[in-house]
Symmetry: C2
Subunit: 339 residues, 2 copies
DNA sequence: TTGTAGGCGTTATCAG
DNA sequence: CTGATAACGCCTACAA
């Protein structure tokens, strides 16, 4: 019996013996809902059972329970990578909501690679999770279609795809907010560091920005990038070479924006003075950078909790609709009026 | 039967019927080690069983297995917070190593609060994890002592405490490396943003730095801080007010260092020219900042994998010794020779 | 209101 | 080498 430790091996049997009752009676008291119990056991025995359970420190064995009920109270969570602070913060919300609902999670990184996505999904399913929260959805929803075909309950978070239930930020609106801000400042030549084309986040943020500029009669220059600092750096280098006359750059992610700041400085420009830079997500870092960064705040923690609640609702057989949370522009020194 | 989906309900029984064998035989083939099988089943039946298992897509039910064997192949992982890129990267290593060992993890945030630590430990134990990896150890090891008293197998990662098995970076050495670098550059008046006093990481890094300076005949000024950008900002403000003549500041964490950069700029100083700034962990960000940051690289991913391997070794009844990985100084523009 | 009797899918012990 | 049998802890008809 290797690997054992003093776990509470207090079982229903233990309590039954202590209370001089049958195991089934004990089970009824301990697992039923309040009113179920009321109808199935006398108040005195119920009290006695609960008392013993408390005193002995009874903890139901989750494996036995899962085996019996075919429900594991386990949720699989897939993210591109947890070392992306954005997803990690969303996960904090998921975890909190899980705790409230008596659920636990398996979190796994998929690095936005479809093979990994499939592999990790299978891993989660082999552990018999009740459902999945996917933070790594691609716009072409092939993996999701497969999942739906297997009738696995799942919800998306952060990114949406096809018509699957999701909790996202209104990224299009977020992009518009930045564009309006830039326009008010008088920036006419602007660029967008647009993120990965397979993620709805980057695409919507860029489109919101670009469309708003178009309506105002200007063309915004866009280029894709990875969501990290390096990606932002490279993309901004490209933009500045392509169009040195730019006076504003919107990066769809704070980390990319940091890379943009670096590239701007490398080009001999003063971010905030010569060129406005804005990011997205209002990461903790944004406010604390040497040059505080204008950014769109998205309710990351809330997205996590709502995603879990959405999944719970799906698991209970409902067919809830997706949710889109409101972004908010936070203006800081990285966007000032041009000289 | 709510919340069910097409899970592979192929059981041993299914295979036994298909192959015309007994369940116990099938089990022996499918669960034993290669040589155990060789002694317990004829090659032909073994092949047949494996063939059917493959063809039917058999997946053992982890709950049944856990119930029977009292081993869950589940690991609990506690971190201060996953939105700290450092811990998230360590976790990536843990996850990878888990996958290799057929294990899965529950990751939980404890926010460095002892009550949360205890609560999350209990949560993990109630799920019958086989062991724990703790990334949130405090130097006063009270929670750990409790855990040890309950004979729960666990290892520490990132931080160490008391004599419990751990995988860490040689943080003291890391601090020394920075000090030597600063000394070579001719900095005599220096400060340390030392992080939280309850974390061995911050303490060791500071001490390594301070001791090296002391040996060289100089006094380094130290102040505690939280590990994030805001903490670094506040700490640096304090240091610069206390001793405006400082020409170098070592922050024990890259995020704190970013805060330091901001404070330095706020004070009208040019980081990298007027004052050297160094961080720790060589986060992705360090290289991409507008002013690239000198930092000590710690093998985060490896720390994660080694921690899991250490735990596996503990679980197999061994008494392995702790491991301390080597840091490496990465010099960038934030530390140049003083004018 | 309580007790009895399976069975969820596995593994382990015991005969044959 | 293989098959019967029991048990892990829990839930739930069904019967009393």
């Amino acid at each position: 019996m290797p690997g054992r430790y003093k776990s509470s091996s207090v079982t229903l049997k233990t309590i039954a013996q202590a209370a001089g009752l049958d195991v089934s009676t004990v089970s009824r008291v301990l697992s039923g809902s309040p009113d179920e119990v009321a109808r199935a056991a006398s108040p005195t025995t119920a009290a006695a059972v609960r008392d013993w359970a408390q005193r002995l420190g009874y903890q139901p064995n989750p494996h036995a329970k899962s085996l019996r009920t075919a429900r594991s109270n386990l949720i699989g969570v897939l993210v591109p990578r947890l070392s992306d602070m954005v997803l990690a913060t969303i996960y904090e919300g998921v975890e909190e909501a899980c705790a409230r609902n008596g659920l636990a999670t398996f979190v796994m990184n998929t690095y936005d690679r479809p093979t990994e996505q499939r592999a990790k999904i299978d891993l989660a399913l082999s552990r018999h999770v009740d459902g999945l929260i996917l933070g790594d959805a691609h716009r072409d929803a092939v993996v999701l279609d497969e999942l739906a075909a297997r009738e696995v309950p799942f919800v998306l978070v952060s990114r949406y795809a096809s018509k699957y239930p999701s909790v996202t930020c209104d990224d299009y609106l977020g992009g518009c907010l930045v564009a309006k801000h830039f326009l008010e400042l008088g920036h006419e030549k602007v660029g967008v560091v647009a993120g990965e084309p397979f993620a709805s986040t980057g695409v919507d943020r860029s489109n919101g920005f670009i469309d708003t500029y178009q309506k105002a009669g200007f063309e915004a220059l866009a280029v894709n990038s990875s969501f990290d600092a390096r990606g932002g750096h490279e993309a901004a280098e490209y933009l500045l070479k392509q169009a040195p006359e730019l006076t504003g750059i919107f990066a769809v992610n704070d980390f990319a924006a940091i890379g943009v700041l670096g590239a701007v400085r490398d080009a001999g420009l003063r971010p905030g003075r010569d060129i406005a830079v804005a990011g997205y997500n209002d990461t903790q870092l944004a406010a604390e950078l040497p040059l505080p960064l204008t950014s769109v705040r998205s309710p990351l923690h809330t997205m996590g909790t709502r995603a879990l609640e959405l999944l719970v609702s799906v698991l209970s057989g409902k067919n809830p609709s997706s949710e889109r949370l409101a972004p908010e522009l936070v203006i800081r020194e990285s966007t000032l009026s041009p000289d």
